[in-house]
């Protein structure tokens, strides 16, 4: 039974007297293999953030070189935060992330519970369920936009036509999904894509339930609901948290679906899309950086919680 890997295998080495071959290595020899990766990460991921921070205090619009580049204090932040479009993109990012994560966690839990029981062809069903997650995100966004949601030849409206025809009507409803329900369109595509992810994590959680506890509960004649409520759900809690937080990290950063399905129109611009827009369409580097810093601050708040959860999993392995 395995849930989580175990560092006890590594921890004891610190206390045990190291064997002759290993003892002589100094701290630096131990650190050496780590350094290339650390330095690489520092240069590629940390230094750009420092640059972003600096540029966020500079007035710098690439389309207006005549204005020059100079320090402007917090005016980029003021401009960005007083922009109603940017504020609406903050709100939509929260709505999108919460909706997608909560719905796909719920669906993922149902699917994981279905797949937890043995049945004929379980491996095939599991493989089928993973498929949405393995379609290239922009391909899946194109699939939703053109093949499913298109008002004229999309599958959804095609099915409506078919159903209405069965009942002898030639006048089926043919909603223009993306125009009439832009947010729902993006959310549906992302929920379809992320449910398999949640299902996989929760299924791993279900399969790591202690078998003896299930046995005992069975002996005591617990109902399936009682088993679920008092045994499965508490055990799954940390997996639900992990799935929710990892899902949030990825969905907050989503760009492909918004860019493809609605191109950020009708209130569906989320933060990555807005920043891309300020940077790439408006070419206002100062404001794009200020927006970036605001997003980083928001992410740090979320990440602090996420790290706490991961770190609780991490400590659990030691038990």
């Amino acid at each position: 039974m395995t849930v989580i890997d175990t560092p006890p295998t590594t921890a004891p080495t610190a206390d045990l007297p190291a064997p002759a071959g290993l003892r002589k290595t100094s701290d630096w020899a131990r650190r050496a293999p780590l350094m290339p990766a650390l330095i690489f990460m520092f240069i590629i991921t940390q230094l750009p953030f420092v640059a972003t921070l600096v540029i966020s205090f500079v007035r710098w619009n690439a389309l207006r070189p005549d204005l020059g580049k100079h320090f402007t204090g917090l005016s980029n932040y003021q401009a960005v935060l007083s922009d109603p479009d940017f504020r609406s993109s903050i709100i939509f990012t929260v709505i999108l992330t919460v909706t997608v994560v909560v719905v796909s966690l719920f669906l993922g839990l149902l699917l994981a519970l279905l797949l937890d029981k043995p049945f004929r062809g379980r491996g095939i069903v599991r493989t089928m369920l993973i498929a949405p997650f393995l379609i290239v995100p922009i391909a899946s966004a194109l699939l939703w936009k053109h093949a499913l949601l298109n008002p004229v030849y999309g599958l959804f409206n095609g099915i409506l036509t078919g159903i209405w025809k069965i009942f002898g009507s030639d006048n089926p409803p043919q909603p223009d999904w993306v125009t009439e329900h832009p947010r729902l369109s993006v959310e549906m595509a992302l929920i379809w894509q992320w449910t398999p992810f949640m299902m996989l994590i929760l299924l791993a959680g279900l399969q790591s339930r202690p078998a003896d506890a299930i046995e005992a509960a069975n002996m005591d004649g617990a109902s399936s609901w009682q088993m679920f409520r008092f045994l499965t759900l508490p055990h799954l809690r940390q997996y639900l948290e992990l799935g929710g937080l990892l899902g949030s990290i990825y969905v907050v950063q989503n760009f492909d679906a918004v860019f493809t399905i609605t191109s950020g129109g009708q209130g569906t611009a989320n933060l990555p899309y807005s920043i891309y827009n300020i940077f790439f369409t408006a070419h206002d580097y100062g404001q794009a950086s200020a927006a970036g810093v605001i997003v980083v601050i928001g992410s740090i708040i979320i990440a602090t919680f996420a790290l706490r959860v991961v770190s609780s999993l991490f400590q659990e392995e030691g038990r």
Partner: protein
């Protein structure tokens, strides 16, 4: 040891008789199995629909209500490969960026994971969390400086820039995954081998490699998938020469008359490597996606 239930399916029928669910009659079980099949088919249907449409002629693909019995054709694929801009350069760029960044990630991650598990540095958990925290900062915030640096260094529209960027995106995942695999290397055996006077190369090939190889395979597949899928950075940092397949697909965002079969063919072709890699690694997928926290 990760025990996923994947290919165990054929072995299940015999297990169902002996399993602890003696109070759940077989009929109830098969009803739930049926439900799972229905839900699974429903879920995969859009993906199958995409593949199905890609083998239709444009006029059949765009019919409303949908035609389920239309004749199959390869016209969509021919159209995708032969008409307009050729997709081959972008497929080649995607392959270069994904494969090379994965190799770079492994070169950096394996020694790092060694220093975090087999012979851990002091405060190795802090290092692990540093790697993880870089994954939690939104990449978009670093986009502008990277663009400016690349512009000044004349690295825009260069696939090697993407190799470096993708390596930095995937390195935290790879370090976490590889560490969780290397943590399973039996330390007593390492010590015994060292006492017996075995040299480092022998220890590497005889003791560490057997445990690490499945981990390396799984890590590579996950890194490959993420690099292949990436759009935002590729869109901003490449243009004509180095554009990757997802950037190529952005050409299909606006409708262009009858083109549904072609879009579906394009989406299918470009997703194919990820589907293959993902199905091959499906029992390790969870571990990679949860950064090695869940096995």
């Amino acid at each position: 040891m990760s025990t996923q239930a994947v290919p165990a399916a054929p072995a299940q029928p015999s297990a169902s008789a002996a399993s602890p669910g003696h109070n759940a009659p077989a009929r109830k079980r098969s009803v739930w199995g049926l439900v799972a099949w229905v839900v699974g088919l429903l879920f995969v249907f859009p993906a199958l629909w995409m593949v199905f449409l890609s083998f239709h002629s444009e006029s059949d693909a765009a019919s409303n209500p949908p035609k389920f019995t239309a004749p199959l054709t390869l016209a969509g694929y021919r159209d995708f490969f032969n008409s307009g801009q050729s997709p081959w350069p972008s497929l080649a760029n995607s392959a270069t960026a994904s494969v090379c960044s994965t190799v770079l990630v492994l070169l950096l991650a394996i020694p790092a994971a060694y220093a975090l598990s087999i012979r851990p540095v002091k405060k190795w958990t802090d290092v692990m969390f540093f790697f993880l925290s870089t994954k939690m900062l939104p990449a978009v915030a670093g986009l502008l400086p990277i663009y400016l640096i690349a512009k000044n260094a004349h690295l825009l529209d260069n696939v090697w820039l993407l190799v470096v960027i993708y390596a930095s995106m995937n390195l935290p995942i790879a370090v976490w995954m590889m560490r969780s695999f290397l943590a399973e290397v039996p330390v007593e055996m390492l010590e015994a081998a060292a006492i017996d006077g075995a040299r480092l190369p022998t220890i590497m090939t005889r003791i560490i490699a057997p445990v690490a190889m499945p981990g390396i395979a799984a890590t590579s597949l996950i890194c490959f998938i993420f690099s292949w899928n990436e759009l935002l950075f590729a869109k901003v940092l490449t243009a004509v020469v180095a554009q990757t397949s997802p950037v190529f697909l952005t050409g299909f965002i606006t409708s262009q008359g009858l083109f549904l079969a072609k879009v579906c063919a394009a989406a299918t072709i470009i997703s194919l490597p990820v589907l293959v890699a993902g199905f091959a690694a499906q029992d390790k997928l969870v571990q990679g996606l949860s950064l090695g926290a869940v096995k």
